[in-house]
Each structure stands twice: as structure tokens, then as C-alpha cells.
């Protein structure tokens, strides 16, 4: 029983890691640009497809293909910002929200148009799991976990320890005051979009490598990532990441006792309960007016 519990806990942490990267990004966009970014899933999908084209069709070595995928997702994120969201800054949040749905659908059908709706796979052989005591872990999941924790620490350090992080916090807390202190909100926004796109892209490539690559793969994770972010506190990127890990654990441990088809339902039910008690999420900070 202990072995089963541990195995499901490991699976839960892996599921959490898949959601943590986009959840952090969603929280950052919410905090700095001030809207729920519904096109976040397509950043994941685009990165996965770009890396797949680089690895599968151009036969680039895997690290280069991954790098290419990340660059493409960063460009896509910056493109969304410069092409669409920047022009809507200052409008009601609903405008940006709806615009991001439009961006998501545009990119999704662009991918279907370019690559078809059939699913694809990376040219990677299936791998045996590694036996670590009573649990079995896929090597790819170790990379996924490492990437998630590195990202978590990296964002933490950037937020707390660097000038860029201080500027991001300044802009998110009070854009006018930040401008008076000679901080350029435009640059901060640009940096933020590069960061969240790379986070989402990394998660998309890893998810594509462990499962399959499909036009709605990012969108399918997005609802979970959103829920995780709200659960942890959407105004706090670290809270969002912790929310993702908790949600992964609850889902995967929950299916030991409940039918698996209710896996997500249980997680969402728990979130509902938490939000009734703590409306800002577990680690949410006061949301700016």
C-alpha cells in the first residue's frame, strides 16, 4: 500500500510539474498585464510543434530542436503582445480576455491548417522507467521535474533578487508610479512575455515528448493550469506553482479511492472548497484595485 501511495504521489508531482510552468506564466500575465491569458495553451502547442519539426523533419539534434521550439514560442508570445494585447492595454479586462480567445483560436486553426489535426510524436524511443526503491519514474519525468523546479527557483530569484524583478513588481503594483521612477513599463512587459512564453514552451515540449503532440494539447492543459493558479493564488506566481503541485497530488492520490473518470472533478471540488474559505487562493496577495 505504501508503495502504491508513493507511486501515485510521484505521478501527482509529475502532473503538477506539467501544470506548474503554464500556471506560473498565467499568474505573471495576470499580475503584470492584468488579464487571464486564454492563448497560453497555444504557446505550449507552438513550441512542441516547432521542436517536432526541427527534430523530425530537419533532423536537428534534440537540444537544438528544443532551443528552436523555445525561441519560436518566445517569438509567438512577444508577437501576441506587440500585435494585439499592447493595443488593448488600459481597456477593460474583458477586451483582453476575449482578444486572447481570438488569438488562441487563430493559432490553433493555423496549426491544424499547417500540420493537420492528426497527432504527432517526437522521434524518441519509448523508455523504461527507473526503479527508485518502491517507485518507478520515467527518465523524461525526471527532466520535467528538474525543469519545473529550475524554473520555479529561477523566477523566484529573478523576482526577488534582480533589478528586472523589482521593476516587474513595481509595474504590477503601480504602473504610473513606476513610470515616474524612470521604469519603462513597455520593456517590463516585453521581458515578461519572453519569460512566460519560454516557461509555457518548455512545458509544451516536455508534454509532447512524454505523451503526443496534438493541436489542442496546450488548450487541454490550460483549464487545469488556470485552476491550479487560482487555487494557489493567481496574483502570486509561486503560489500558482505550488497550487499546481497540490492539484496534481490531489488528483493522482484521489484516484486510489475514487473512479478515475472523476479525477479532475475531485480536484476542482477541492478548489471550490478552498476558495470559499480563502477567496484569493492559498497564497494569494491582495489584488490591486
Amino acid at each position: 500500500m505504501i508503495a502504491t501511495l508513493l507511486q501515485h504521489a510521484v505521478d501527482g508531482i509529475v502532473l503538477g510539474a506539467i501544470m506548474a510552468l503554464p500556471a506560473m506564466g498565467l499568474a505573471l500575465v495576470w499580475r503584470i498585464a492584468g488579464f487571464p491569458h486564454l492563448a497560453h495553451g497555444s504557446l505550449m502547442t507552438i513550441a512542441a510543434y516547432a521542436a517536432w519539426v526541427a527534430a523530425g523533419s530537419w533532423n536537428l539534434p534534440l537540444p537544438l530542436a528544443v532551443l528552436f521550439g523555445l525561441v519560436i514560442s518566445a517569438l509567438a508570445g512577444v508577437g501576441m503582445h506587440l500585435g494585439v494585447y499592447r493595443h488593448l492595454a488600459g481597456r477593460p479586462m474583458l477586451n483582453l480576455f476575449i482578444a486572447s480567445i481570438g488569438v488562441e483560436l487563430f493559432l490553433r486553426y493555423g496549426i491544424i491548417f499547417s500540420f493537420g489535426s492528426d497527432f504527432q510524436t517526437f522521434p524518441l524511443p519509448a523508455e523504461r522507467g527507473m526503479h527508485l526503491g518502491p517507485v518507478v519514474v520515467r527518465p523524461l519525468d525526471v527532466i520535467l521535474l528538474a525543469a519545473a523546479f529550475a524554473a520555479l527557483l529561477g523566477v523566484w530569484w529573478m523576482f526577488r533578487g534582480t533589478q528586472l524583478g523589482r521593476r516587474m513588481r513595481a509595474v504590477s503594483d503601480n504602473p504610473s508610479l513606476a513610470r515616474l521612477s524612470a521604469i519603462s513599463p513597455a520593456r517590463v512587459h516585453l521581458a515578461m512575455w519572453v519569460l512566460v512564453s519560454v516557461l509555457a514552451g518548455a512545458s509544451g515540449i516536455l508534454l509532447g515528448a512524454r505523451d503526443v503532440i496534438a493541436p489542442t494539447m496546450g488548450w487541454d492543459v490550460l483549464l487545469l493550469a488556470f485552476a491550479a493558479a487560482i487555487f494557489g493564488g493567481i496574483s502570486n506566481p509561486f503560489g500558482a506553482a505550488i497550487g499546481a503541485f497540490l492539484m496534481g497530488l490531489v488528483s493522482e492520490l484521489g484516484i486510489l479511492w475514487i473512479p478515475t473518470s472523476y479525477e479532475e472533478g475531485i480536484a476542482f471540488f477541492l478548489i471550490m472548497l478552498v476558495l470559499l474559505v480563502k477567496p484569493r487562493g492559498l497564497f494569494g496577495e491582495a489584488v490591486r484595485a
Binding site: 505521478d11 497527432f119 524511443p125 519509448a126 518507478v136 520515467r138
Partner: protein, 423 residues
């Protein structure tokens, strides 16, 4: 800014003008195509709704089904068509989605005035479409296996060329017992086809006097990870894991199974355990997997009559999977039943379907021969590329089944189950 706004307006205008010109042209050509053949032959074109999955989970199969229908309808029209009228394909994408299929069915019926729809794939799609077609009196032919597809409330107007999900389950249970497996787990996709198959397996397994199925895990489509589901199904290391799903989810599950590194063997339906799965996970991984499927009647004249044509038109073999052959048969059966009914109305055509498809009668393999005999007042028995197409009282068909073992990219037939034992 002003210029831009002008630009946008002009663009909109051009788009609008373009669209309406296109609309007028379509209307004109549509009208022409209806009238012109009328002068030459027995009447206006007969619109036939074709709804195969061109996108979504079934996108791997749909395009070749459509191709098969196009080739067949071409041959039917060259032979003069039913009652001397040409068939006109009106093709719409089901997107492998019940929601989209409902919209498409409504469009085909109310806008294109089709009286028959063929080619619906996946039980979820067919079951979504059936209330609409039944209510509109439209004939529906599909490749779906769930029991409810030919439920009494739909039966009069629906025919399937796909064996039901039941024989798959019977073969799986009987083969598993023969192999000496006792502890069995099932991983089933949460949709009508997989749940039907799961229940039929459990019932047959009990009937064979085996202990209950150890573990039944139902998984949702498009989950971010199936790790937990696979772990749960593999708890207690069963002798056999049965995966009931489609190729994309079966691929992910196979990777998880391989990572778990257990002695459990794996079995599933052949349309999920296909070449695409082997390509996705690697030939070495699927060695020893068991695939259960109906046997394409490769030695039968009905199959041979279409196999070469299909191969040269698409470059792929008709035996790759069951569905293009079924799509071909649906088009032929429909045209022959129209000819026999001297009508295109769904109910009248449906009433003649078993007459032209079932014995007794002269065996025919294509529309041209069948239509000629019908006009001479003879009784015919259509023999298809997918099988004999002998619809029973429920409008279901039966097929011979086999179990194959995957060895890399090859497959070896291990056991044969004749249709008569699978009802």
C-alpha cells in the same frame, strides 16, 4: 488611422462582394448541375451526405474513407447511377466530435436536402446524429460499433457495416482464457464504444467461469497524463491488460506501460493497435501485443474487385484498416437500394436494403452488374469489400474475427473466430 479604417472597410467590402459573387455563382452552377443531366438522363442529381472525420481523433482514417466513397460514386455514375440519375457527394467533416456532427447533419439535411448520410465514424458521432436523421426520415449508414446505434427507435433507418463492439469483447475474453490468463485489468476510454466493449468483456469473462475482472479503469480523453490511470490498472501486476481506446491514447498508455516495466501482457482492438501505434512508440515496444479485429475478406471477390482500384488511387492497401472498404460498400449498397426502391426517400430505400444485401440472390460486387440485374427483375445479394454485408434483423452485420500478435511492424495471426460463434 483614418486610412487604415478606409482600408478595412474596403477590404470588408471586397470580401463581402467576393462572397456574394461566389454565392451567386455557386447557386448558378448548382442550378445548372441539377438541370443539365436531367436533359441527358433520368432526373436531377441525387445529393448524398458524406460525413467522415477529416479532423480530430478519426483524422487518421477519414480522408481514405472519403477517397473510397469518391472512387465508388464515380464508378456508380459511370454506370448511369440509380434510376439513371447521378449521385452527387456532399461531404462535410464530422471533426470526430458529436457537437460538430450535429451541426453538420442539420446542415446536410436542411440546406443540401440529402435523404441519406453515409460514413459516420465513431459511435459517439453516430449516436449524436441519429436522433436528427431519424426524425427527418434520413437513411444513416455508419461504421460504429456501440450497441445503441441500432436500438429499436433508430433501427428502421440505420445500417452499419462495422461489426458491433460485442464480438471484439467475446474474442478477447475467449482468447485470454485460452492463453491461460486469470488476472485481467481493463483500461477503457470514457465513450460509448469503449464502455460497451468493457461491459461485454466482463459479461463473457464471467460466463466463461473466470474470476471477476481485477481492475477496470475508465480514463477521460485528452487528460494531461495517464500515469495514474495506468498505475491503477497495473496494480497487483495482472497477467493481461486490455486497452480499449483509439491510437492516440493507446500510444500514451503504451509508453506508460513500457516505463512501468512489468510482466503484464497487453491486448486491444486492431484499429487502435495499428501501424500508427507501432510508429509512435517503436516496433520493439509493442512486440507481443495482441490485436483483435474483424478479418478483411481478402480472398473474396468483393474485396478483390475494389482492392486494386483503391491501391492505385491512394497508394495504400485496403487491408490497412477496415474502414475504406466499409465506406465503399456503403456507397454501393445505398445506390443499389435506391435502384431497387425506385426512390431516394430514406424510408423507402431502407426498406429495400436487406433485399439487395442478403441471400438468396445472385452475388454481385459492384453497382453496374447489380443495377442491371435489378432492372431485369432478378434478386441480387451484394458481396462487399468489407464482407458479405448480410444485415441481420437488427441491421447489424457479423464478421469473422482473428487475434494477431504484433512482432515489430509485422503481425502474425494466432487464432481465428468464425462469425457464427460470435453472436
Amino acid at each position: 488611422m483614418k486610412d487604415m479604417r478606409h482600408g478595412v472597410t474596403r477590404k470588408h467590402f471586397m470580401l463581402g462582394a467576393g462572397a456574394s459573387t461566389a454565392g451567386v455563382l455557386t447557386g448558378l452552377t448548382g442550378g445548372l448541375s441539377i438541370r443539365l443531366p436531367a436533359l441527358a438522363s433520368g432526373g436531377p442529381d441525387i445529393p448524398v451526405g458524406v460525413m467522415v472525420p477529416l479532423t480530430g481523433g478519426g483524422a487518421t482514417y477519414g480522408p481514405k474513407m472519403l477517397k473510397a466513397i469518391e472512387i465508388t460514386v464515380d464508378a456508380i455514375n459511370k454506370a448511369g447511377g440509380p434510376m439513371g440519375r447521378r449521385l452527387r457527394i456532399v461531404s462535410e467533416d464530422s471533426q470526430t466530435s458529436p457537437d460538430a456532427a450535429v451541426t453538420v447533419a442539420q446542415k446536410l439535411i436542411s440546406l443540401n436536402h440529402v435523404e441519406s448520410i453515409i460514413g459516420t465514424w465513431s459511435s459517439a458521432v453516430t449516436l449524436a446524429v441519429l436522433p436528427i436523421t431519424t426524425q427527418a426520415g434520413v437513411l444513416e449508414m455508419n461504421t460504429s460499433g456501440a450497441g445503441d446505434v441500432t436500438a429499436p427507435k433508430y433501427r428502421r433507418l440505420v445500417f452499419r457495416t462495422q461489426p458491433t463492439d460485442r464480438p471484439y469483447a467475446l474474442v478477447m475474453a475467449r482468447f485470454a482464457k485460452k492463453q491461460g490468463y486469470r488476472k485481467v485489468s481493463i483500461l477503457a476510454l470514457n465513450n460509448p464504444y469503449a464502455l460497451t466493449m468493457r461491459d461485454a468483456f466482463a459479461a463473457e469473462w464471467r460466463r466463461l467461469g473466470m474470476p471477476g475482472v481485477d481492475n477496470v479503469v475508465v480514463y477521460n480523453p485528452k487528460a494531461a497524463s495517464y500515469a495514474g490511470e495506468v498505475q491503477k490498472a497495473l496494480q497487483g501486476t495482472p497477467d493481461l491488460l486490455i486497452v480499449i481506446g483509439y491510437t492516440p491514447d493507446a500510444s500514451i498508455i503504451t509508453k506508460e506501460w513500457y516505463a512501468a516495466d512489468v510482466k503484464t501482457h497487453v491486448m486491444g482492438p486492431g484499429f487502435a493497435f495499428n501501424d500508427a501505434l507501432v510508429k509512435n512508440v517503436g516496433a520493439g515496444v509493442v512486440n507481443g501485443f495482441f490485436a483483435v479485429d474483424g478479418i478483411p475478406p481478402v480472398t473474396q471477390p468483393g474485396y478483390k474487385a475494389f482492392a486494386d482500384v483503391f491501391q492505385s488511387a491512394t497508394g495504400s492497401s485496403l487491408s490497412d484498416n477496415f474502414w475504406p472498404a466499409q465506406a465503399h460498400d456503403q456507397a454501393n449498397l445505398l445506390a443499389l437500394a435506391m435502384e431497387a426502391a425506385k426512390s431516394t426517400a430514406g424510408a423507402e430505400v431502407a426498406a429495400k436494403m436487406r433485399d439487395i444485401a442478403c441471400p438468396p440472390g445472385i452475388e454481385v460486387y459492384d453497382f453496374a452488374t447489380g443495377a442491371k440485374l435489378l432492372r431485369e427483375g432478378k434478386k441480387i445479394n451484394y458481396q462487399g469489400a468489407s464482407g458479405p454485408c448480410d444485415f441481420d434483423d437488427h441491421h447489424d452485420i457479423v464478421s469473422n474475427f482473428a487475434v494477431w500478435r504484433l512482432n515489430g511492424t509485422a503481425r502474425e495471426q494466432l487464432a481465428l473466430y468464425p462469425a457464427r460463434d460470435l453472436t
